[in-house]
């Protein structure tokens, strides 16, 4: 039995549906990233779980408690759910210590010593033991975000919700801080749900990833599963770089290969099986294509090279005019204009055309 169970959760603002039958089952102690483009409903999902927006249908359970569902709507202050908003939202009239202690109320925290000890513990945990007497105005963005995390964790919530906690920060700060936040969450054995539109953040931080689009969860899985076997071409594009080709599916190939401009290549079918002889969408990750010396595989000319230090993304034009991209280590990079050949080192993903999600908008081009 999972610790957090969200079933058929729907939310609407007036007539406008924002979430449609969202389901998530989160094991205790897991860090889950909800990944989706702006406006996909992921922040609303968090607010619905926290009890800050009313739900139209479905239910939310944490542990053995029903928080939302049917006639039940537990008030936000009785849910035991911590909340870390996007911009930290520290109380400007309180010091760092007072912010962390804000939720330490009720019978368990009656003694000032217990409160002080918890504040000291958390301030130390987020590396701000020297800053407890400061006001929020005297903190940097990263420090404020860490105080917001400490404040949410202080009352030992059953679940912590983090709403794009790193998006307002300098990119240089983001990577170390999210490592640190993950460590703190694991240290406190917290179950956490984090929403983000940053693929790298979701894949590097989380135990599980839920990809959301248009108010629905399109895929649930570990970061590796979501990256290696995306449920739709849209998910594939959203979580990483893709090379997409048209192909022809043939049943007599035994369901294991597909014909493309790269020849007949090994394939893995995702979703519904297409009819034999029908056109399909074939998706590779750029690192699944290998650049070899001329004559080994399909001939191609290097047209463009984008170099990022340790590796590079190579754009290649095949003899038939098709364009593919390959990721290669810096030491192996060819020169623009060089004639090389391309081989396939990982089975291609094959999607039936019906399942392409034609209605799905193109995601923003992902940064290589």
């Amino acid at each position: 039995m999972s610790w957090v169970n969200i079933a058929d959760l729907s939310v609407a603002f007036g007539e406008l549906p924002v979430l449609s039958r969202v389901g998530l089952a989160i094991p205790r102690g897991d860090i889950v990233a909800v990944l989706g483009p702006s406006g996909c409903g992921k922040t609303t999902l968090l607010r619905a779980i926290a009890g800050l927006v009313p739900i139209a249908d479905g239910e939310v359970r944490v542990g053995d408690r029903l928080l939302s569902g049917g006639k039940v709507r537990v008030a936000p202050e009785r849910r035991g759910i911590g909340w870390v908003p996007q911009d930290a939202a520290l109380f400007p009239h309180l010091t760092v210590a007072e912010n962390i202690a804000f939720g330490l109320r009720g019978p368990a925290w009656r003694s000032p010593e217990a409160r002080a000890a918890r504040v000291t513990e958390l301030a130390g945990l987020v590396g701000l033991a020297d800053h407890v007497k400061r006001t929020p105005a005297q903190l940097s963005g990263g420090q404020a975000q860490r105080v917001a995390l400490a404040r949410a964790l202080a009352p030992r919530p059953d679940l912590v919700l983090l709403d794009e906690p790193f998006s307002a920060l300098d990119p240089m700060l983001r990577v170390p801080l999210r490592r640190e936040v993950a460590d703190v969450l694991r240290d406190q054995r917290s179950t956490a749900l984090l929403v983000t539109h940053d693929q790298q953040e979701a894949l590097s931080l989380a135990d599980h990833v839920a990809v959301m689009m248009g108010g629905r969860v399109l895929q649930w899985g570990t970061p590796a599963e979501v990256y290696r076997r995306p449920a739709t071409p849209w998910v594939a594009r959203f979580v990483g770089d893709t090379v997409e080709l048209d192909g022809v599916w043939s049943a007599d190939a035994g369901g294991r290969s597909v014909d493309t401009v790269l020849g007949r290549v090994p394939a893995e079918l995702v979703g519904e099986a297409p009819a034999s002889g029908s056109r399909v969408r074939v998706v590779f990750r750029p690192e699944w294509l290998r650049i070899e010396p001329e004559g080994v595989g399909v001939a191609a000319t290097v047209t463009e090279l984008s170099f990022v230090g340790h590796e590079g993304l190579v754009t290649l034009e095949l003899t038939g005019g098709a364009i593919v991209r390959s990721r290669a280590l810096a030491l192996e990079l060819p020169r623009p204009g060089q004639v090389v050949s391309v081989t396939v080192r990982h089975p291609a993903l094959v999607y039936a055309h019906a399942g392409l999600g034609a209605a799905a908008p193109m995601p923003q081009p992902s940064q290589p």
Partner: protein
Amino acid sequence: MTTTAGVGERTRPPLLLAAAAALAASASLIPVVYLAVRAVEAGTEGFVATLLRPRVLELALNSVALAASVTATCLVLGVASAWLLSRWRLPAERTILLLSALPLAVPSYLVAYGWLVWSPGLNGFWPSWAVLTAVCVPYVTLPVAAAWRGSSGDLEAVARTLGRGPIRSFFSATWPQVRGAALAGSLLVGLYSLAEFGAVSMLRFETLTWGINASYSASFDRQQAAVLALVLVALALIVVWAERRARGQAVTRVARPLPRGVMPRRWLWAALAVVLAAPVVSVTVPVLGLGVRLFSAESIRALDLPRFASAVGATLGLAVVGSLLVLVFALPIAALTARYRDRLSRGIEGIGYLGHALPGIVVGLSLVFFGLAVVPWAYQSLLMLLFAYVVLFMPRAIGSARSGIAAVAPALIDVSRTLGDTPAASWRRVTARLAAPNIAIGCLLAAIAIMKELPATLLLRPTSVHTLATELWTRTAAAEYGGAAPYAAALLLVASVPAVLLSTIRSTAREDES
């Protein structure tokens, strides 16, 4: 994305808050409704007959003529001052800017008194026009200067490069940027000129407000007073409606500050004359007159010390109790309208702001009727007077408190809720704490207004209660200029106490923001 997430969800206000706000706002409806009831009580025929009396028409025309001429003068003088202040370098700029706002601090009847001290024969249209214009100019100068500081001077330069002359570029490129602010400001001037009672009655110019007081107190013609009051309310509502429309046009944006011109020496004196005309007429001359009278033997001999002390006490006491009462009524409305913009909330807000359009004399008169007929036990009690202050000055407190509450980020409330606060605890620990400076400012604005209030206080006060304002008015009306001087001086002093408090709150509020 997160910042807007709160908007779609919070469409329905909590029932208890909406009910409290509706109850508070309905206080403003009592005077208008009761006035209308009273005016038509004697039947529609009697109402129409009174309305068509030549005297009513004459008073209405006087009011309109005065309001229109003051408004037009303020528009021209205010725009000219704002242009000089925002587009040219002047010597001692900060002082001049401060001086140009100073007329706002002086009640108009005190200005009239200060001029009567010098020249007791002053009376009629022109002196009233001059006094009101001098007092009201800042209502145009300040918003227009602010709009100009926020507007882009490049537009005028672009118009010049596209072949328009300086004057045509001014009207095609520069004027549209401040037109909204200028119109809204001058319509506010129109509203205050219509509602003005103290100065015009001291200067014996017979407007609607003068007529209401005269019909009520001298001839005790209640029906004529009610009809005059209704005519005045109708005129005021027209002006308010126009002001709301004009305010919609006001452009506010932040742009690069303009390079300002250096005023040639030979024009400097003319420029200073334009900018300083209003402060000289409304502050320098009256305060000098007051000072001369204050220290004359006649004034000191005439001073009845116990009576003077009781007037100071009454003014302070009414201001403290009244402003707290105003706050009690204003807070639910402010809390509601800061967070919810549905139709119900906007309706409640509109009613709460009604007092802004109602002249003090109208509220006073209507509550006299209301007290006599409905709650005789409250007639001529302090309760009725305090209620009039609530109706009249609630809008000031609502506006200030609302902006303070709206500035508290909804995310802070969400966080405090998830940390275990009930809505009430969240209001106490977060919203009220953060909005406290603005709530206090609203309270002080109401206190200042109550100290200076004259017509409603004259009509509603218990016979034994005298404030500094009523004492100043009755003594001036009886031409006892020397005897009035200590009261005028005390009023200026006492009313400056909340003003000083106000400036300290404003500066601490700003430190918190940084």
